[in-house]
């Protein structure tokens, strides 16, 4: 009987494709929008992700994220170093500066000062050049997405001179970094030269990056640092989370994406609900005949279930493939750099599809179940 149900469905090409479109469109909208949302808010943690060696971040108690921080006195570094379980601790500076571009435009950039000796604080990989170029004087390394911003015409960034807060700087490398939420250009330099680029206030130690000794967990070391120094210490995970939460709390992003996802859901229900009801209504005489001949209601429910399941499976697959294709197609666009689809998202859209089909299927099937077998003689 079930293959008959499938034939009934595929035999009505118009409604079949309509249903596939409805489910596929909903899946695409929900999956794609949630993917963009998650990847965007995760950029609130890009500062943390771009300094992969740091297991604990130490900061002034009022600091909230890598970009919203209050400087500490230089003595903080030694105090942190003296805490048990701290394997190493290095200074880390994050500040804003202005760059005068060649065409005379002003561009706000982020300055990241990394440890002079170890270069801890730099992103893991370089897109071009070697990390050691930073040892040359007046050198900066630019993040790869930033180059498209400072050098939109495609000219090479390497070797370019910048006027950075009235100081001269030369770009000698390009870092393979995760863009920040605002896609601000980031210039990495050694801590000591960062102090030159950023006009002087007394305290210019934004963070202390810490590696923990063997046998210690970042959590326990962070707790110990907090207890002994009075500073705030967060593990890499906690601090990344804080950056993400900051974006969620301080932008309209969750609402906007939430509305779109909800619309995807509603549109899915509308299209699928209408089409499915129409489909079953068109076949009501056949279903009535089957009921008279001797097909039980339970079997009829199975038949409609198989129809819904088939539409759901194919439509869902199309929607997910569409999202993957979308992310792939825009992969070279700097905005989408590093975008990935967390496994939870296809699962969520699958649940949405199941709910859409359950709601619309239940509404549509009522007309079939309520059909009296006697109606076939009318």
């Amino acid at each position: 009987m079930l293959w008959i149900a499938i034939r009934m469905l595929t035999g009505d090409a118009q409604k079949f494709y309509g249903l596939l479109f409805g489910i596929g469109f909903s899946t695409l909208l929900i999956t794609q929008q949630m993917t963009i949302f998650v990847n965007l808010v995760e950029r609130g943690a890009s500062g943390v992700y771009n300094a992969p060696e740091a297991e604990v971040w130490v900061m002034d108690p009022v600091s909230r994220t890598t970009d919203v921080s209050y400087a500490m006195p230089g003595t903080a570094l030694d105090r942190v170093r003296s805490v048990k379980g701290v394997e190493w601790a290095v200074p880390h500076l994050r500040a804003q500066a202005n760059v005068r571009t060649k065409d005379g435009d002003l561009e706000g950039v982020g300055i990241v000062g990394v440890d002079d000796a170890t270069l801890i604080g730099l992103p893991e990989r370089m897109a071009s050049g070697d990390k050691s170029v930073l040892f040359a004087p007046d050198t900066v390394v630019i993040d790869d997405v930033g180059t498209t911003r400072l050098f939109p015409d495609g000219e090479s960034a390497l070797g370019s001179r910048l006027e950075l807060n009235d100081q001269r700087a030369v770009i000698r490398g390009i870092a393979d970094a995760i863009p920040s939420f605002t896609s601000t250009v980031v210039l990495y330099t050694r801590y000591s030269s960062a102090l030159n680029f950023v006009p002087g206030t007394r305290n210019r130690l934004s963070f202390v990056l810490v590696g923990v000794s063997e046998g210690e967990t970042p959590e326990s070391v962070a707790a110990r640092i907090e207890a002994e120094t009075g500073l705030k210490a967060e593990t890499r995970k906690e601090f990344a989370r804080a950056g993400i939460n900051f974006i969620i709390e301080n932008t309209g992003i969750p609402t906007n994406f939430g509305i779109t996802v909800f619309l995807g859901f509603v549109v899915g229900i509308a299209i699928v609900g209408l089409t499915f009801s129409l489909f079953l209504r068109d076949n009501i005489k056949q279903f009535g005949a089957l009921k008279a001949i001797g097909v039980t209601n339970a079997k009829i429910v199975q038949m409609v279930g198989v129809q819904a399941g088939m539409v759901g499976a194919i439509g869902y697959a199309l929607g997910v493939i569409g999202t993957v294709a979308f992310i792939k197609a825009f992969g070279s666009n700097p905005f989408f750099k590093g975008f990935y689809i967390p496994w939870q998202i296809p699962l969520i859209s699958l649940v949405a599809v199941v709910i859409i089909l359950a709601i619309t299927g239940l509404i549509a099937i009522r007309s079939v179940l309520n059909t009296e077998p006697a109606s076939v003689f009318r």
């Binding site: 008959i4 001949i293 097909v295 003689f377």
Partner: protein, 243 residues
Amino acid sequence: MDTKAIGGCAPEAAICARGISRDFEAGQTTIRVLHGIDTDIRSGEMTYVVGESGSGKTTLISIMCGILWPTEGEVKVFGTDIYKLSDTELVKFRLNNIGFIFQQYNLIPSIDVASNAAVPLIAQGVPREEARERAKVLLEKLNIGNQADKLPRQLSGGQQQRVAIARALVHEPRLVVCDEPTAALDASSGRRVMDLLREVAVAPDRACIIVTHDNRIFDLADRIIVLEDGRVTHDGKEMPDDH
């Protein structure tokens, strides 16, 4: 022996209907369309139910074949008191014992003719290919064996009705009911379909009830029951003279 008089059923009766009444709600009022009908249908005969439009023919045969509950009365089909069965048992009973021929054919448009004719077997759980083979044998008998792989819409009305007949007989039911089987056909194809139906449907152990308006085919009946306003007014081999 007059079994009706004492309310009993002849053991050989295919259908034994006793005191059948049926009411329909029409807004505030209740209309009684069948008034205490007693009748037996015998196997090996083609029984016609005739009468004016609205006289209750469809209602009566719907009750006799287990798709419409009577308001009063009981129906035994081959000895089974069908309205005492549970819903599921009744559905099973219909599947195994009754073949239906509808005026509108109600074929499934997206499966081919052989599969359509095989639907009752498939519903019984017979494997698809075996069911189709058995259906093809019957289609052959009905002279549309060469249409077996076509879709219903590629067939003429008369051919589609023959597919519907095949579907009604494929599982060899002991009772076949048809409501106006020729109403959608022109006179000559209607006559041909009825000739065929008589040939394939009537068997010693099978009862066949046909509701019809079509006085051109009255001569094919073994027995004619006339309904008027929900009451049986004639029951015999021939039509009464005043019709």
